[in-house]
Assembly symmetry: D2
Homo-oligomer: 366 residues x 4
């Protein structure tokens, strides 16, 4: 029951890493929206491994086939279903993993949960590849929110290993900055960080190892008063969606965990008037107070753990023999999954924002 | 639409800080469970301000009145409704806040969202006081999970300001340790930390200021194979509930944000046999892989921001005059809300675990 | 998990026939609505047994106590919780029913479902008394829909035993007619039917028996284009809510079951212009086509079975002895529950319409 | 937001009558179930128009393509996605319907709801063709429930026009009877009825007209104690699903609308022991009391309106000219959609039963 989400925009994701393909059904998207398929493809290619040598060698076109819900390139109001075919699969790489589940991956938990019937090839339905359909939906939502509500959603790589980019200015209003980040191969605020990141990842890769990272995402233009208190507040919903992305192990808003060491006299965002609008002078709360948008940028960070599939020797259990043995994972894997995460994080946030706007404004979210 | 939650266990919370009272309806709790009302009262009193002088001066008995769902102290299977009356309210403290919304609080966002009709007294429905009914449900779930599944849920204060307690050993199995933490006024692992925390909070209070903190919570005894991939995975659900607690601005599992600086060769939890059961040697994933429990302890941390209501002068906007002015918040407030949070964090986690067990095992969660 | 409902307006009902009372939490109702409490009380009294001698002798004031969500008689946007206390209970009437479950009632199924822990007094949570809080919510929604969307919802008793009232003209537009029906003790279109109904019920009562009936409800003023295809279409949602009312065993729209004997050339409602608006000349589809409102009146009928609690001798099983024996149900019961059903049917329909308008228009349903 | 359904089994339907195809995603189906694809194909072919000349001339193979969720013909626990391609479409038939919406169909309401962007070809997403994926899911559920819970679900045509079949004996226990009905081209209890039905439909067809009908469905073998009171009771859930089937305008259980003319002394189903099990002597409540199964057969009837697409002249509005004009619908249509409905009704009921068993028993519904 885990692959269906939503209150107003409902999405139902399907597929496996090494099956026919992956896809999604999107229910509740407003009718009459002209999808910019180029923009959607661009977002999908931001998530795709790319040619940089910093990612998995698996090459997928990730061309979304529209199964329903579009007519003459406009949404009809009926569910939008898409499918992305799997083309470059090498399933023999995964045969042994039934008996020796990969550490840090879903192999073992998936087997217990589904009594051994789960498709274990490439992680099956647990694969990071499932973020491609999520990126499709998110790109559609980003496209809509920008056109109808002048909302821009962008992100940068805030940290990889011990390399840190500058953080966002929490009070940023520069939509153009966010738009430009989306065009970069390695989206960072400080240009020099990009090189350091590349170096780090190359080192990690040559060690047959992997490394984690943090993505920082900002939403500029969300109006105040969106969301609700308690269980469906903006933070709950964004966090819930971000944690659906495989490898995410932490989510924080505004100052986040640093608030533990901060006094109220600093952390409180005092109000002021700016160009006739109510704004806060600082934005340590990340654009959300009482679970509801303040009108300031929403700023959220998500940490991605290092890819669990590594080539290095790992001593782990063989479930069949009951003995520990050395495992070397072959297959083609990303040394740093966080590098490909910005489009996915933006998509996740965009889906939630779309759902919130549908809740606030009804069928057409206008 | 924000105050109703759940898939299998459904809860619907109501009430305001300065209204008649606060309460909750719990739908789907198994029939025939003998509630230990003493245990529930103890959990409620852990959340209550206490006599230490470290918390708000507001004194509430927090005695839950059972409105339905119990007969001869056993659950009947029908919805359990409870109410906690508000006794010690001083609403005149809040009159001016319509025009001068408190920084960092829901006053402004609530007004925008509800077009000025929200009950602003004491934060109304946004108040931290709403965590009392949540604690009631959580205590009920903890009680059930312990009795029927030998699951123990406990927590400690990991950080207040610059004072850090030792973190949990991520592979802990000691249920007794968790049980004992629940009996402490200031639950910490290192005794000396308690004194340092008190000192910090007293200092902050004398400065008419507030301070944030981090609670670390562990679940020992959850079996492997609970949860689902994608949107309703264990992390998504726990994070979503924790973010429903006012003041939470970050949630992380296992190594959490530190995974950004960790290599896969370390972060991966390799499997082994222990007493005939599959276990991991380390637990950097915090008991969850692929969104599903591994059978290792679930370890989660949540950061609480400093209480936004502080006595210090704050220069902020008067919405009526359009001018900034100095605000001194009177009323009775906690200098460190995190001190009262352990019971609430445990309750939040317990509610999610209960929901997951109902999903896995059906009506009776057995 | 059965007592919580809703997508946009969420309601969570609680209470038992012979417990402390009954109540409901309403989440998602727009802020700033001034409730007409007199109107709500009138609706509750329409559902109450009345003084006619045609209903149960149990006398309840059914005075709703507001627990939350209202301030200065306007909704605040926070959940509205109400409770109606049980005052006139005589629980000793029900003692024997654990071993001899009443035929046609929930006594047996409730015991199996809740393993004997259900509150069996007066039917517990299964009691028809639970329709009082439902009527409260429905009255609130009717009030809102009338004020903001000029929607009138009314009903009449279409059939009791072999007495038939005239059916509604399916193309009716007369809001006043619907309003007047709400003021009648026995709401019928043909005055003489009222007397025949009384006679029928008196006869049935003197036979210590009970009788069924049909309520026909109409919604005038719903605009076209509300609802969605497939699972959440208007008929599905209204039917789902009506079947939640104890004793309902059938629901039909427009011509309903008579459509089985009707040809398409008659059943099709052809379009025309009326006062510049698109209307249908007939309305055999009951105001709904493709699951979406047409702008014509929504007409729905629900059948209520005869009250299962009757004084006549019934030969049924004693679960303890395993022998059949004669049962005479004492207690105070309605000879014809359908007589009290019009307010409940209207309330059920109103709740669904409110949910649909929130979906269509967002937070404020305007 | 209308095409996604479910609490435990979640389904998300997509597609249009004249688009690429139609399909469905099924989330939450237990892992390790070996699908009998032959049985599923048989159910799909029962729904398909057949060769009898009594149905639409459109010929579709309705071959379901599995997109995900199956491996070596067993379910993996991941979402099962299927697609059925549209092969025999003639979309030019539908061009004029934007300006002259077909009476009784969704053309007008769909245009209002989706502001003219709906795919109107063949009814688009509103088409009866969407019942094919529903039948797929239902067949899967029937298969599961029979294998694991010995539940048989069958139906017959109870009425077409003025031809009535014998009704089910409400206390039936004969699984074989239900299984045999599934093998018949025109499933009726009295053989002679089949001929009368054919005659009726041929007459109607030669008149370029259509006719309605009633399907009666029975579930034998459901255990007592399944379901919940109030909003998610068995009747609400079954009715809600049946109303999702296009053309259904009425649903009733047990004696249904006839209960209006029935006294309690007859309608009450008294308990008895049969082969050591608690049973009722009669079953006028249709196997459900208090919203929960009694262990007796669940008997439900649904009325299907006459197909709105008819060849006869209809005088209706041209939205463009604002004038009424004569419409003759060409295209290929069923004179009696009810003939093809039995498999769909059984599927709808099976899906709900599956959802209820998952709720009662957890992940594996065992």
């Amino acid at each position: 029951m885990g692959s269906t989400w939503g209150n107003h925009l409902k999405i139902s994701i399907f597929g496996e890493s090494h099956g026919e393909g992956i896809g999604i059904v999107i229910d509740g998207f407003p009718a009459g929206f002209e999808c910019d398929m180029e923009l959607i493809r661009r977002e999908l290619s931001r998530r795709a491994p790319g040619q940089s040598g910093l990612a998995t060698g698996r090459r997928e076109e990730d061309e979304p086939v529209i199964l329903s819900g579009l007519l003459n390139s406009a949404t009809t109001g009926a569910p939008i279903a898409i499918m992305i075919k799997n083309l470059d699969t090498r399933s023999k790489d995964y045969e042994q993993l039934r008996s020796i589940p990969r550490p840090g991956h879903s192999d073992y938990t998936g087997q217990v949960r589904y009594r051994g019937y789960n498709d274990i090839r490439g992680g099956g339905h647990f694969s990071g590849r499932l973020t491609a359909p999520l990126t499709f939906v998110g790109a559609l939502c980003k496209n809509f929110l920008k056109k109808h509500h002048n909302i821009e959603i962008g992100s940068h790589i805030y940290r990889i290993g011990e390399v840190f980019d500058s953080p966002f200015d929490l009070t940023l209003t520069d939509r153009e900055l966010l738009a430009q980040l989306q065009m970069k191969e390695i989206p960072v605020l400080d240009e020099k960080t990009a090189e350091e990141i590349k170096e780090t990842v190359i080192n990690v890769k040559s060690d047959l190892d992997s490394i984690g990272g943090v993505i920082e995402c900002a939403v500029v233009g969300a109006e105040p008063g969106i969301g609700s208190p308690m269980f469906h507040n903006v933070e709950s919903r964004i966090a819930s969606m971000l944690y659906s992305v495989p490898a995410v192990k932490g989510v924080e808003f505004g100052l986040g965990f640093a608030l533990a060491g901060t006094r109220g006299s600093k952390a409180n965002d005092c109000y002021t008037l700016k160009d006739g609008s109510v704004r806060t002078k600082t934005n340590y709360n990340g654009g959300i107070a009482g679970g509801i948008t303040t009108g300031m940028p929403i700023v959220v960070r998500a940490v991605f753990k290092p890819t669990p599939s590594i080539g290095r020797e790992q001593k782990t259990l063989n479930l069949v023999t009951g003995k520990e043995e050395n495992l070397w994972i072959r297959g083609r894997h990303d040394p740093c999954i966080a590098l490909r995460a910005p489009a996915v994080v933006e998509a996740s946030v965009a889906i939630v924002m779309m759902d919130l706007y549908l809740e606030a404004y009804g069928y057409d979210a206008k």
